[in-house]
Symmetry: C2
DNA sequence: GCAAATAATTCAATCGCTGAACAAATAGCG
DNA sequence: CGCTATTTGTTCAGCGATTGAATTATTTGC
């Protein structure tokens, strides 16, 4: 549970440097071209002298490298561009999902430097065994990262379920997990990452949350506030507000799947009736399209559905239309409530987006009061299938970028 | 549109003092007993020397007063308690609603030091005339505040409608306002408040938002994250997340009234069908209870309804039960989505809370996945009818408490 | 009346930013 | 080719704010 908040405590002499390190590094990360020290000075409002001093720290800590001088018009001494180091700290992203394990390594610049996906049905596998396989993949990732000059500074694990502050997976229904103490199980494999001060060694979080973070930090960066919807067997939403993931009071936000869309409709496993999940969940869509569910693993079902719809299959098209309408009703409610202007369809919805987006947009236009003044964008995720793993790894490096002082203070 | 965010820009030498001024003043404001300098030092992590220097600034700026030494057990020099000044800056809160105008003055400590409510049906009144009446009331409030030694540092106006960043009221349907440029209309009355650097002279915001802020800053303080629902003719929600009001991308968040609760149900003025407002809006409840709507102004209708329900009138009880159920369906969806643990019923719902809370809670318990692990509280607002005006005034003083440097830097 | 205890202030040291001067490196121009 | 204008980056004295230790202030308990 990373919470990126303002320095709530005392502001001491050294905090000043910490904050300015973060400010300058953040600017370097956000720039679309390698900025010079002078650029950073004007962008941040600091003096060139201060920027030079701060940059010196960043260079010494190997968070930043000097790039080849960028060609520039006009007279004057050529600037030396600054880029995020490609040999510095990196984040390890892990994902356990229903039908695959994924591991990836993301560097400071957000580049995916290593990626492994291991396809297998994880439902019959005991949590400890699944995690053991994941650790094995992580070990390979670790050596590959080292070969590339990267140091794993922390790890994050994405799980399709509810996770509490301590990393306990309270419930992952589609995986069949209940009260799985992930940190304790992984403590037996201590060398997942080096222990870096200020960077949590292992964060466990919900898959939808981490996928939304991945979208937020993708290039080009997503908007500061948006709703990211992962359509898997369940439907999870990652809510990004003002550039930060909103996790809720206990970290369990995003359960969009149980917004009512037909209150007197089909009973749902949550105890309510007519929940969105019963109409736009993957199983519901597949069943409505007339595909036998059991025969296909979840992700190939989605691919098959896209294939059928692309070929003009009437049942598939109708199923997607209905699902999109249900999704649109729910999303319109959320947009009314939170006043968002962007909705991203991710996870299993991404390949189906061409058919889902139109009905979703129709409902939004009809039901959102403010849609007349400013339009709402609905688009598919730019990340691939393992968005959550990439987002998990990204969350680690974003943590370092937001708090570089911790990394710089380490012995080494 | 106040956005309370971290210092995003350069952190210079002086920012240090600014941040620590805010830190110390915030502690004084949050404490339930007048803290000593030593208390503040341990609470903030600053040294006693620094706290003394900071407090000296706050005393000189008349934001803080020394209180009588509080009795303390044990030996040692007695501490001098620090309290928010009752003779310092204050906030002016204004409210235009369908059937009343309200003006109030709130001091730094959050005490309401002046309050005027002018009952009148404002629907037939032109916006400029309504605002002129409000300015007159504000003038009286201003002299009363001066008599009490208070200086009005800024003002906020609550409006039952959508307001954009510039203070333009885009649409206030129940008031009949459309595209009313409030700041321009009030510019003719320039002396609403003294111009204080760092404090916006006039903020215009949605009534539900400001009522939620009032709840957040009431004593005892509300939780850091909650949903505040104002049930008037429309239903508006103020969403407080992590101690800050969430306003959405354009400041139009909180339109909970158009969450679908019966998707194929009654058509709504928003263009959708079966919106919450059609089942739990004030007019809907009154009609369901068999009260003729036109005969009664809105607020007496609510009072009459509470009276009838209290007397055991079957129609009224059934109407409230049905409305509470519809409200509960919508609220359950929001709680699932945002993972909140507190829902506050305010505005017209406050007096009806005894009858609304049970069905709302029933729906939440049935539909919220995580309700089994940690309960959701549903309670009425602690503020009275003019909560929005109080919240508006409170938002001004909270602004000063969050950024005392601006007030201290003023000439005087 | 004295010691112990707690509160608050004073003061030299230090840290990090500022602003101005200075050094470095290049383009344009005669 | 050499000079000037221009822009980048560094150096350094100055200064504001915090720190930590010593000091003063004020009360309780013995």
């Amino acid at each position: 549970m990373i919470r990126t908040h303002a320095p709530a405590g005392a502001v001491r002499q050294g905090s000043l440097r910490e904050l300015n390190l973060a400010l300058v590094l953040g600017r370097i990360a956000a720039a679309d071209r390698p900025p010079s020290r002078a650029d950073l000075a004007t962008a941040t409002g600091l003096t060139r002298a201060t920027v030079s001093a701060v940059v010196e720290d960043l260079l010494a800590g190997r968070l930043v490298d000097e790039a080849d001088p960028a060609p520039r018009a006009g007279a004057g001494r050529p600037a030396r561009g600054l880029v995020l180091a490609d040999q510095g700290p990196a984040g390890l992203g892990l994902e356990v999902n229903v039908d695959y394990l994924a591991v990836c390594v993301v560097d400071l610049a957000g580049q995916v430097r290593h990626r492994t996906v291991h396809r297998a049905d994880l439902r019959p596998v005991a949590p400890a065994d699944a995690l053991a396989r994941l650790v094995e993949l992580a070990g390979q990732a670790r050596t590959d990262a080292a070969r590339q000059g990267l140091t794993l500074a922390g790890a994050a694990l994405a799980v399709p379920g509810l996770v509490d502050d301590a990393g306990l997976v309270r419930l992952a229904p589609n995986l069949g997990w209940r009260d799985v103490a992930v940190p304790a199980l992984l403590a037996a494999h201590p060398a997942l990452t080096e222990q870096v001060p200020g960077v949590p060694a292992l964060v466990v979080d919900n898959e939808a949350n981490l996928a939304a973070l991945g979208e937020l930090h993708s290039r080009p960066p997503g908007p500061a506030s948006f709703l990211h919807i992962s359509g898997e067997v369940g439907i999870g939403a990652g809510i990004v507000l003002d550039g930060a993931l909103f996790r809720g009071v206990r970290g369990w936000s995003g359960e969009i799947g149980h917004l009512p869309v037909h209150p007197q409709g089909r009973p749902c496993r949550c105890g309510g009736r007519g929940c969105l999940e019963q109409y736009a969940g993957q199983e519901a869509i597949v069943a409505a399209a007339g595909l036998a569910r059991a025969e296909l693993p979840a992700d190939t079902a989605t691919a098959r559905l896209a294939e059928l719809a692309g070929a003009g299959d009437a049942d598939a098209l109708r199923a997607l239309q209905d699902a999109g309408t249900a999704l649109g009703v729910a999303v319109a409610g959320v947009v009314n409530l939170l006043d968002l202007d962007t909705v991203v369809l991710g996870g299993g919805y991404a390949p189906l987006a061409p058919w889902l987006c139109p009905p979703v947009l129709t409902e939004i236009t009809a039901r959102v009061l403010t849609a007349a003044w400013s339009p709402v964008t609905v688009r598919p995720s730019t990340l691939g299938a393992e968005a959550a793993a990439v987002g998990a790894a990204g969350s680690v490096v974003r943590h370092i970028i937001a708090r570089p002082a911790g990394w710089l203070a380490r012995t080494g």
